[in-house]
Symmetry: D2
Subunit: 395 residues, 4 copies
């Protein structure tokens, strides 16, 4: 078995069908709503997902048992990048954050009963979900050990108290996976536990929609309050105090699927720039014949190729069951910055047009900027990468 970089035929074929579906069905909806899914509303979500089911491209990452095609991480790399060609592509395929990561987590950790109750309808697109981990400063953010939301035992269950923010998709979600401290103190790591909290729990409230630079993710980014939120014992996901480990189960792959989807947007931005560079004339030359424009185009090609290769490397390690913490950090840190550069260059190539709403580039720029912050800011990953390198060198 030598190094082989070709995807299995099934994946290649599914990626191609996904690409066609996104271009034909999804892109028109996206452009109609200027890339803001909320403007399309629930009707659009239902319509797009129905179309994706019909096209046989829906929820490809989920186990066959739950209606999917059980793509491994490498297969997702090929397919999600195609879904990412449109800001609405992941929503249409039901592979958008945070649902996609939540399904991944539930498949690994949930009990059979929890799977039936939460995973099955989620995988079918009947409901949506959110993942409530991040907290406003000084709580859990780049540093998970700062977790300050607490869950304490009450008869028959737990009571959760704390404040979360940047909870993507919270508005309209049927349930939240909430991470709360069940032992130790903020600042030391201690133990955390994940809880499945139904949206109609009176102890969980959406306080506000955060007004963020990015706007495309369905359900927005919300600030969510857990105030005397009582859940039964069955709401514990996996085991008590194992939350940090489960978070790793979710975070590594979720980082990679972000990379895949945003790489799709980078390619789209580059495509817009290439078309513009082919058509527009400036100073008597075709824009694409000007050396500085060529330099930007090439740098973006290089950035995308490297991002794709690093992501695939990490996916392969994950599929093999390795921890892959170094390779996912490397792939995430590189891809978040690379995608940003690619979109920025595309906008620059298009000039005034790029700044205008007549193409979606400025929308893309706004959407990809936060990726350098969420799922670990670039600096946090670089810090982790360096520490591992130092450990290895001095062993």
């Amino acid at each position: 078995m030598a190094v082989d970089l070709s995807h299995v035929p099934h994946v290649v074929e599914l990626a191609e069908r996904t690409a066609a579906f996104v271009r034909e069905v999804v892109v028109p909806e996206e452009e109609r709503h200027d890339g803001v899914a909320a403007r399309g509303g629930e009707a659009m979500r239902v319509r797009l997902q129905a179309a994706a089911k019909q096209a046989g491209v829906f929820a490809p990452h989920v186990a066959a048992e739950y209606g999917g095609q059980a793509l491994d991480m490498r297969g997702r790399a090929a397919v999600f990048e195609e879904a990412g060609w449109s800001l609405f592509g992941p929503l249409a395929l039901n592979v958008a954050a945070p649902d996609e990561g939540n399904m991944h987590l539930l498949e690994f950790v949930a009990s059979r009963a929890q799977k039936e109750r939460y995973l099955r309808p989620l995988a079918l697109g009947e409901i949506r979900s959110c993942f409530a981990m991040t907290e406003p400063a000084p709580g859990a953010g780049s540093d998970p050990a700062a977790l300050s939301t607490r869950a304490v035992r009450v008869p028959g269950g737990w009571r959760i108290d704390g404040r979360k923010w940047f909870i993507t998709g919270a508005d309209g979600a049927a349930f939240a996976i909430c991470m709360a401290r069940t032992s130790g103190e903020p600042g030391d790591r201690g133990g955390a536990t994940m809880f499945l909290v139904d949206a109609d729990n009176p102890g969980m409230k959406i306080v506000r929609h955060l007004d963020t630079l990015d706007e495309s993710l369905y359900g927005g980014h919300c600030e969510v309050d857990f105030d005397g939120c009582v859940v039964p014992d069955e709401a514990v996901l996996g085991e008590v105090d194992q939350g940090y480990d489960y978070a790793q189960v979710r975070l590594g792959p979720a980082r990679m699927t972000h990379c895949m989807r945003w790489l799709g947007i980078a390619r789209r931005a580059q495509e817009i720039a290439l078309v513009r560079a082919s058509e527009r004339r400036l100073f008597g030359s075709r824009l694409g014949d000007l050396g500085m424009v060529q330099g930007m185009i090439a740098d973006s090609e290089i950035d995308m190729a490297a991002a794709r290769a690093l992501t695939l490397q990490a996916c392969w390690e994950l599929d093999k069951g390795h921890s892959a913490s170094q390779s996912t950090s490397i792939a995430k840190a590189f891809t978040a910055e690379a995608v940003w550069r690619v979109v920025d260059r595309a906008l620059q190539i298009c000039g005034a047009l790029g700044v205008s709403g007549d193409v979606l580039l400025s929308r893309f720029l706004r959407e990809v900027r936060p990726f350098r912050v969420y799922d670990g800011p670039t600096e946090t990953h670089r810090w982790a990468i360096a520490r591992r390198a130092l450990r290895t060198a001095t062993r």
Copy 2:
């Protein structure tokens, strides 16, 4: 007379008063409207400008004859940077684009009668104006020689036909300075003429507001149609066919005043980041004690110091009556990129908070991005800089 980098006492004092005025009076309005001047509306503009007059900081660049303090370019460098601390500061002082550049141009080129009719009320903030030069592709943009709007002689005047876009402040402007081709063909330079067109001219119409990444400039960016727009001979600004030279009169200084104002925003962004870095704790350290954060802070300090020094250099050359085309290109190219980097780093330092609307950083990021495109994209300036360097070397 040796090298001296201190501003005259009058300028120092005016800059200090401007700084205080902006912090006390303007910033609260800006934050109330999330940095979008249009949300404050005409009432806010009038209110802010009245306050600026009272504070003695209004229209400092205009000749005393028209109510200003006749600051030279070096003086503007000190004062406009302080005005730029808020997105609304330049509007409050009546030194915002495009009015500020138009006043500068009118002072140089307009006849006495034109000055009374257009410059005086403009300088007093009684009316606003716009500058109609940029055209959609394949018209005049980075390459002014591509100018395709035409003016042809008709009895007693001229008829202008053509399409302009990215005409900042057009909505609500009392008049436009329109640049139109009066000889030659698009692609060669030929001759252009500037015309003063009243907003009630039936041949001039605002077609639409462009939906752009930036939103703070009052009056928006508009697409404007000149369709059989007839103007009298008195509407000619300066002389026929001298438009390209007048454009230079306007563009060099206008580039520099952009740099000054945006440098103010960069400083503001850095201030927000510094405060955050001083207060926020992460991984057991103060954010500002982490080396990678320090690296970003320092790079921004260096960027701002260099931008300020290059801008001042160009201003000094302009004040001495030099062409300053190389130094304004260098200052503009560097400052546009530097300001962008500074705001981007500040946002990154603030993390999730920076992405949210809870601070204005993502607003600033959106506002400064187009500066890398307008008034000559960075690449166009670099091209011009290189050509001049090559000419000098091989002379």
Copy 3:
């Protein structure tokens, strides 16, 4: 067959043995001679190659028929990177430029007789060779079509006239593969032919050793004069006028093997920096605990991972028989810059020590700088990458 990034066991095992051999046998010789192979001389070359044969790591890329292990490009990627850990590693394994690329070319193109005469002793390390293509300006360099050395028919053979420079390893080479124009004119492409020229041909003369920034390559970089150099018909390598195609056969893989070897040096540099960062204390901290140092370490880890992944991608395409021109350009452009950055950062981390000769970092810096120029300057590759991207987008 899904994506698989593990090397075959034989390659893994060979790479490990190579790594051990280089550390134990080669590095001491390198350090003894400050990384300049010429200082070790022919005695050292013979000694190192004998040791490599004994260790079973010699000439692993060559066909078994000629004493090698017939590694494909992917296998070379794993093994050559380990060889590259020392500047003398490739020489020891007989996989240094230009011999390695020449063997590759001869295997593809040479006749049986030519293989016996030239390839066999070359593969055994009995002789060395050079590749005479590059010419001083205005001849063939970045632009191969500028080829100005000419070969014209004479009875029974050809007469070659022209000047070559940067001919690596020419001094001491037993033969040169010389590329000469056999039809067309400099500036158009026309036809080129490759000739095998024995070193004792009186028409070929080494004019001088170029004094270059890099000094480690054995046999130096020479300027070579072909003056009435007559060769027989049997000296034609492959077919007349097919030289440009053969150059491609050589250049794509040769670019990749450069990347592999230099990636080895980058890793070595990083290792030196990591050890230093672990041991050195500054401002009361371990150097490796300072955030800016961590940032540099991480960026280098990312750079190396991306370079390795892009190189492997291109190798896989080459092994599959694809043209791989885009992927080799991308890998070469990225790796040349990345290796440079890694070595530069390592030197910076080591500070004054890095600048001194007490570690080999400044030697490495000098050696890798030219890689951004040879085998196509980065800018030439970026230009080619952009043109291909534009073609694809507008098809």
Copy 4:
């Protein structure tokens, strides 16, 4: 007194004469010896300095009393940049490191007797000197507080013990200014004292020449041993325990004069690249007409303009008697990196020629690299800049 960026006429005239002298007299010597002053030897030093005296450009920074022209820092900025056009220019004018900085220090701190004995012959070029502060790890380097060389009182004087390295110009110097700890322990700051040590003191020995990446500085970089080195009380420079303050007197200006001189080399490198770009044709174009080359040329113009402006800003502050620690850090950090980029781009533009010894670019690259390390590595300055910015923001 408004902002004025023109130098006084005397400085302008001296700078012009210096420029002419360097081009006509110094450059030929430099090229004869491939930029390595040691190859020219003492004979060349004497010859060049005599010529500089005759040309009236010698030692322009020194007080008139000692034969100079008492240029302030701003004047030095103009003149030293012209001297820096050649690697030997500063030596010819007697403004090379470390003598130039030592003269500056002696003027400020030395007693009248010390000035007669050390400063006068130094200013006349009759002797040379060195500055012995830097120590091998874990001693004083980036962190001066780590100073571990000690001086203890002995009857009638002091005994110095410790090891110094990177002592530029030590070989052949008539005396050293040695910094030694006279109170406190390495790691805390404590007190340091500067001593004037004659070269014939048996307690001071040059242990070895360090083999460094740069080679142009006369007298090399040496490792120097102080072993029971006894000096009389009159050897104390200034006052006991005030060494850290005196170091600041020397270091701020010395940083700036480094910037000036290296900016000269950057300009020279750019000039070589511009000439090449004007003459060389590639792919049917003049090299200078290719957009990527123009981009590199422009970036270098911008870098040099910013470096010059930042250096001048810091010089003006120094001349006004300000501490200037922030502005000298900013100027040094920016200039060291900018000069490196400029030389690197020039080499890249020249391609293979740039790598060869046929032009001096690879020599320049080697010489400017250490400037990013010495006089405070870029990272140390960025750390200091950030700390000052944080202090200011939170005051």
